[in-house]
Subunit: 203 residues, 2 copies
Amino acid sequence: MSATDASTPPATPSTTPGKVQLTPADWIRAATEVLVDKSIDAVRVDVLAKGLKVTRGSFYWHFQDRDDLLKQLLRSWRDAATEQIINRFERSGADPEALVRELASLPFRGTAAFNSASIELAIRAWARRDDMARQVVDEVDAKRLSYVSQCFVALGYNFQEAGMRAFVLYSYMISESLMRGQGTETQRQQRREFVEKFLLQKP
Amino acid sequence: MSATDASTPPATPSTTPGKVQLTPADWIRAATEVLVDKSIDAVRVDVLAKGLKVTRGSFYWHFQDRDDLLKQLLRSWRDAATEQIINRFERSGADPEALVRELASLPFRGTAAFNSASIELAIRAWARRDDMARQVVDEVDAKRLSYVSQCFVALGYNFQEAGMRAFVLYSYMISESLMRGQGTETQRQQRREFVEKFLLQKP
């Protein structure tokens, strides 16, 4: 769901400059910002250190090298993207229909959804030419699809039907967040209801 | 449709090096490759000139500046992406059902579809932070959606229903090309049939 609320807050040093005590998470946030604003090639230790107003050397307290940072960035995105959907499932109790409706509304959750979708899109673009990123994106898609499938299994569909419906719902979510400019507010509302109604038909 | 066959062939000078006679299209192809392999920030006149084995100066025979190149790159992508769908419509004659099936099969058209989807994804990522790119992407999405809607109007749906069905089909196409790794060949086939069957139900 390029349209979740697993967004990353802006990178700010944990303490005031001059006496900064950066955590690995600070570096990962800064790297994620550069990935979205520029590209993965622009994610370089010197660029990040300059942005965070610290020396290059302090980077190596937390990471072996740039590759280690990229790995941790992906892992951090994967965990946020996965946990966030698991949490929704646990909060929702036993009502799969409410959960389908909630998932369909995710792309419309304002700035957080937008930022989160921008991060995800940048990672997907990177994954077109990097195996490590590709693997993590595939893993996240697979996990989300498998969770969404469970809703439809709970609604009484067999595994195959549930998987197909999950794919349609997930596709819809990705596309709404990719195409925020398409249609009026009313049209977006109508197509959401259309998708929900279709997917929630009793088997 | 991040999954079309409007792909761009690799950039090669029109004649042998030493006596190169580059066209604007050569520069645009080279720029598109760099956009996909690196990022829009890496699309710089000096980098392209080096890759094409010509002097920077020859760039200015064709383009006012880098911005002019980027504008023409977007225009070229937009035209390819739009023409390609219009051509399908004209070739298909009067059979909207066959056209829906053809559109649903587009993401599975091999390497050309993959390359084309990679270009589109890179442009979408760029469009998250650039208004000029954003406008062109919105325009392409709108045009494709309006063509796809026509299929459903021809099948007897009213405009509103046709628009919603077009959105679902287009979402499906984008997502299949984004998530090539998801599911087995059989599962991909099943979900394609599922989407077609649903969308082609007589009104």
